[in-house]
Amino acid sequence: MVSRTTADYETIAQVGCEALCEPAFWAGYDRASAQGFYDYYRQLTEYEPARAAKFGIKHFCWLCINPKEAEDPVFAREVMALIPDFIDKPNVLGIGEIGLNKNTKNELAIFEEHVELAQKFDRPILIHTPHLEDKLKGTRLILDALKNANVDRGRVIIDHVEEHTAPLVLDEGFWAGMTLYPESKCSPARAIDILETFGMENIWMNSACDWGISDPLAVIKCALEMKKRSHSAETVEKVIFENPKTFLSQCPNFSL
């Protein structure tokens, strides 16, 4: 987890985390060159797995240029040209987190090219939906693009769903992800509301571990919240462990 300390790896190991997957994402600033991404991909495929392994955690990752840095299509394509050099690294799961940020034409074009790349290498896809006021429109644009690309919907997970976008994603046969935050976005209590409303199938939750205020233990805290609401141990296990395992087992490199 490039944005977290080694102590965070230790903390999640202490609460029983067996594996994690880290998407390629924004560094908190725009990288100045494609070479910056080359170094970043090395970090994701070499350094972070070694750091996690010290605590018995398997580290997996997804590769892409994130939508926040995809507004310049020439630059984005230069970065994407690096991905084939890394796609066969042993901890790479697929292409992600691709998607949209401000729902622009350029972001959408690069999103579609990433989908083509995933199809070319036959890899699953992890998708980021925009936050806040941009989420509804971005989710609809992404769903339309995926329909046009004729992807295998069972191998695509669309992340950051909330109450208004979860049914759009699930009803179309895609997997849905809920990223939990301590503030500003989806909380554990609301994630459970979404599970209770839209069901426990084809959905997972993950702890936001980014540069903002985020909490690597968010999923564990959500599991405790589920217990408070009288969900069975089996249901909790399904949502926080079995569902992610089912989806990720479609990735050739994934194993526990």
Binding site: P130, K135, K137, E162, E163, H164
Partner: protein, 93 residues
């Protein structure tokens, strides 16, 4: 599954706390100088949506929809990288 009362036992006090935070935030905006921007009418619209959600829409969904950009065409370009939390175009429409 918990009963309504059990849900209240779990979440009433926390939600009461958060409701007062909202009330105090609105008082704070009222009390201070200058002009509030588009986020204020969007917030008030979302509060109204929460109290009177359309049929078939949950309160949380109604709040999301009140803050959302409902346009359908991709934007020509991005002039900012972040999100405000409310859509200026929708407020001004």
């Amino acid at each position: 599954m918990p009963t309504k009362k059990e849900i209240q036992d779990l979440y009433f006090m926390d939600s009461r706390f958060k409701l007062l935070e909202i009330a105090s935030f609105l008082d704070r905006v009222d009390r201070h100088d200058g002009q509030a921007d588009f986020r204020h009418p969007a917030f008030m619209k979302a509060l109204e949506a929460m109290q009177n959600p359309p049929t078939g829409t949950s309160r949380a969904q109604a709040v999301h929809l009140a803050f959302s950009d409902h346009s359908t065409e991709p934007a020509e370009a991005a002039d900012i990288q972040f999100a405000y939390g409310a859509c200026q175009k929708e407020v001004e429409a």
